[in-house]
């Protein structure tokens, strides 16, 4: 009898999830998203045709170096780009609605309430002149018509939940009185206070030291599980991806160059850029000279995107393709295995061979 009731308790949350789950199996579907900024120097193609799915209770990692379009993508989902300055096209399906098409007023209702964001630098992302607690309460009170006292109670509870000691007295502190890790916890509390179903974390641990990083990531994972939220984790730290994510999108020059399950990316990467990323992870068990292998060259200009493959100017393997196609022809993002897609002209079989014979031994 007691065993049975235990079993029902365990399955109960899953049933709730089943009720809430949307018809399509993905909770957020981004299709061919493009974000272009017209400037005096030309059209900046910050994001140029990216597609991915995020599921509830799972974490999708978006990796890439600075300027690859990670943050621009996330801000497009939140509708934070000024419509006068950015041209956003494509589709962002969230809960049966296309966020590219919804009005600014509707988007405002979703922001913070259904979709929340944790920003990279918590010091500059918190308003220096307002108390930390008040800034979180404010986020709660926009979407819930409650008294100040009630909002304060919810906020203190949330601050406690994210691990801030003495939450009711820290409520009245200003951001500059918080330490870096505490500020990021406060940012997380602010993002989660309305229990959003989609959480976007834009490099949430970049400004923090390593020990705090691990705590923050653990906290995010825990809370995502608790609220059954979908999470997009934007980072350039592959270690973080390996630890937390289920799926990964690798971005380069505003495009998705490889995507798949986290195992695909770490054990069977096929795109030369992904190899480069893995190679540039520091290995402390190697000699100083062999610790990391940088990718030569610079990220591409987003105004004058390279012809052919976007990674081609830095790619060491473009001579493995017949007829100079890497330079002349833009490769499609093609599935090589279920759920694993790669944008590369090199023949899939050859790619796997290069990885096992040439890349893996030096990783």
């Amino acid at each position: 009898m007691s065993r049975e009731s235990e079993a029902t308790l365990e399955t109960a949350p899953i049933e709730v999830y089943g009720e809430r789950a949307p018809q399509s199996d993905a909770f957020l579907s981004v299709r061919d998203l493009r974000v272009h900024f017209p400037t005096d120097d030309g059209l900046v193609k910050a994001v140029d045709g990216i597609s991915f799915d995020v599921h509830r209770g799972k974490i999708l990692g978006i990796v890439g170096e600075s300027g690859s379009g990670k943050s621009v993508t996330s801000q497009a989902i939140l509708g934070l780009h000024k419509r006068t300055r950015a041209q956003v096209t494509g589709q962002i399906w969230f809960n049966g609605r296309d966020l590219v098409e919804v009005s600014e007023g509707d988007m405002r209702g979703l922001r913070g309430n259904d979709i929340a964001m944790i920003f990279q630098d918590p010091l500059s992302s918190l308003h220096p002149f307002y108390r930390v607690g008040a800034q979180i309460s404010e986020a709660y009170r926009v979407h819930n018509s409650v008294s100040k006292a009630e909002a304060r109670r919810v906020t203190v509870e949330m601050l406690d939940r994210v691990g801030i000691p003495n939450p009711s007295s820290r409520y009245d502190d200003y951001p500059h009185q918080f330490s870096g890790g505490m500020r990021q916890r406060a940012m997380i509390a602010m993002a989660l206070v309305c229990r959003p179903t989609l959480l976007i974390a834009d490099e949430p641990t970049t400004a923090l030291d390593v020990t705090v990083q691990a705590q923050i990531l653990e906290l995010m994972k825990e809370l995502a599980g608790e609220f059954n939220s979908a999470i997009i984790l934007i980072t350039h730290d592959l270690g973080v991806v390996a630890e937390t994510c289920a799926d990964v999108v690798v971005m380069y020059g505003g495009q998705c160059v490889e995507k798949g399950a986290v195992e695909d990316l770490f054990y069977r990467p096929e795109m030369p850029y992904a190899w480069g990323l893995l190679g540039s992870m520091p290995r402390m068990d190697r000699t100083r000279q062999a610790r990391l292998t940088p990718i030569p060259g610079q990220p591409p200009s987003l105004i004058q995107v390279p012809k052919g493959c976007v990674f081609q100017p830095r790619c060491q393997f473009k001579d493995r393709v017949e007829g100079n196609r890497c330079v002349t022809e833009h490769p499609e993002l093609l599935e090589t295995a279920p759920g694993h897609a790669v944008r590369c002209h090199i023949d899939p079989a050859e790619r796997r061979q290069i990885f096992t014979n040439e890349i893996l031994p030096v990783l």
């Binding site: 934070l80 405002r108 920003f119 630098d121 992302s125 918190l126 220096p128 002149f129 926009v142 500059h176």
Partner: protein, 337 residues
Amino acid sequence: MIRYIIRRLLGAVVVVWVVSVVTFLIFQLAPKLSGQSPVYYYIAKQPPPKGSVQFRELEHAFGFDRPLLQQYWRWLTQIFKAHQVSNGSGESSACHLPCLGYSFKLHTQVSSLIWDAIPVSLGLAVGASLLWLVGGLLVGTISGLRPGSIFDRIGMVGTLTAVSVPIFFTGPILLLLVVYKWKWLPDVSYASITDDPVQWLKSMILPWIALAFAFAALYARLTRANMMETMSEDFIRTARAKGLPRRTVVLKHGLRAALTPIITIFGIDLGTLIGSMVITETVFNLKGLGWLSIQAIRGKDLPVIMGVTIIAAIALVVANVVVDVLYAVIDPRVRLS
């Protein structure tokens, strides 16, 4: 916060003391450098020939025969001590507290001259600064939110024009048009606010506009630049990501942050304001401190010049303490550091 205010006030006392020393030295020593006896500037007529008994008696009466340090001490303590003043040729008067001296030129206490002038100047300064702050912030905020828009372009050309036009030009033009040509305000003679508030307003509105015009333009440009910078800050993005309405984002999160540098500039501009008030009061014939100082300088009436200088300095120091406190109210980081 209380400690912050006390610290600022103590600092202000020191500044006022330094101002008193500097003022004393300049006005006491400058006549000596020009070879004139300072007595001349005190009694407002040619003193008896140097070396004569009367001359020495006069110098002694004003304390000029003593060492400089003693002279300063005497001058300072006499402010708080009622005493007799005499010009050595029959005219003498009791100097009431606070005794800033006696003007033999105008045959009045300096303090009562200043006392009459303060309400005029205060009304002018407060009204004009309110006008320029409100106008400047309004134009600057709207421009800063939509840089490059029609409003912004017109606003910025307008402010550039306003900055380039001096008060001694706008003042007379305003008088000419509003008072003489269109006769909207036929009578702009000054009345005290307690006697006739409506007439006071009528007499003040043109000086306010003339004085605020140039300043408002400067503040509009400043606000525009600050607003543009603030609106691209990360915390504004956070505010938008929370789903706050645009008005809250702009006013509560944007403008408040954009305001701090403006308040700093405002504190500094109060000094410039005193100079501009001299011109404004002269143009509009308002008998305030600026007008009084011009009268005193023309008449070489040293006690009045010194009195006005000290009072203006104190007013400026007090205003700056207020600005500092305001700054701390807006930016909590200032209070604690």
